[in-house]
Amino acid sequence: MPKPNSRQVAAPVTTSRGGDSSFFWFLMFGGLLVFTIWMLQDQDREHSDHDKKQHVTPINGENERKKEVPDDNRQNNANQKTEITGTVIFVHAREPISPDLTRLLLDAEAYALVSAGKFSMRSIDVLDPNPAVKKIIDAAKAINIVPPFMVHKETMVFAPIPANLQAVKDKYGK
């Protein structure tokens, strides 16, 4: 069997090698391109993740709180009443009066001013001898409520005086 011509043999091999080499470089170049794109995409992803983490992940478990706070607020805001109409009468001793009640009455007065007549309040002294005051106190006593208390005139719902105006809105508002 004649030996193959080395050149002949070599030629296809070379040719073949030559073809393989181009393919190799094609693969190398393509692979590098894909790798680069992938890396870039990965880097973008990392940046994106990092940004997200920066929004929600400060230190010491703050992330959990920060993630939850907006949800809680949404929930609380949903529960909180924002508007109150009608007249709320606060029946209490005008003295002694606490800093909280002083502030509540001031806030209620201010809210009445901006409510364009929809809301009004009265702060009534338990010592007021007027029959109207006695009637309100008697009506409250009938359901075992004694001053200090508040009553929504339109619904005649009695309740203890809470700590702030928001709680009054929550009780009588919508």
């Binding site: 209620a108 009265r122 009534i124 010592l127 009637k135």
Partner: protein, 308 residues
Amino acid sequence: MASDTPVFELDGQKFATGLLLSSTDNVALMARVAEFEDKLMWEDDAIKNALVINGASRHILDRERHGAYMRNQGEIGSCCPCANTTGIEQTRQAQGMPHVALAHCFTYTQISGGKDSGATLPDAFTSTQQMGATPYLLQIGGMTKRYPNDVYSSRQVPADIHKAATEQAKRFRGVRLLKLPLGNFEKFCRAAATGIAKRWPMVWAWQVENIGMRLNKGYMQLARGAGNHANCIHSGKWVGGKTLVHGDNQNSWGPVRDPMYGPAVAGWGENGYGLTTMEGLFACAHIHPPYFIISVGVDPNDPAFAGL
């Protein structure tokens, strides 16, 4: 005709005072008024929190709130009725009651003895508690008539107006007063600061001389003396330290925004207001004990109580 009481001039306008020394009966009456007790006093933080709102001093906000109802007694010696009716209006406002302009001269006619020679503070507050204070605007026979603000005797007032005023006054009565403790200056300061923080108007006395007609850097200039003029401390400025608060005085010398409250003139102080120190508030306190108007009664005509 000018008042028999000391009259001072400012920018060509005359302003009367009108505070008389208390009679023996007045002193006995004042002794029966409840005194501000230690247990009612607030700590510094609570006082400060009530007087500094969002970084602003409440006396500035209150000047705006109360300035619409500034009085000008003019040349009538009605400072005591002015101070008390102003205090009643402000307490009504703090109690959420609709504003009703109250005629100080009605109260003056009740206690003047028919002469324009001034009055005492105990007589003025007793009148507002027993007779009540009457509105300027009165409905008489289908017409609205106004109680005059330049009178000192009921004889100067048309009979129908005075009769209606006497009837309407029952609607606006003071309920509770509290006098300040005078035995100890530090306690006086804390009681005064607490009451101001609680939004109670304080009726007090000071001595006016010519220098008192102008402020010095926003502060009143009080003369030495027993006290010849009564006013209303409507609010205060937190200053801290031992005296805690400087009172913001609402005088009764204009400028009025509503002419119902007296003659329209340039008026006194910063739009009728001027600050005073606790030393100033205390200066005449032993002769004319200052007091807070804590509460006023429900107006039976108030729609908030209709149907209850």
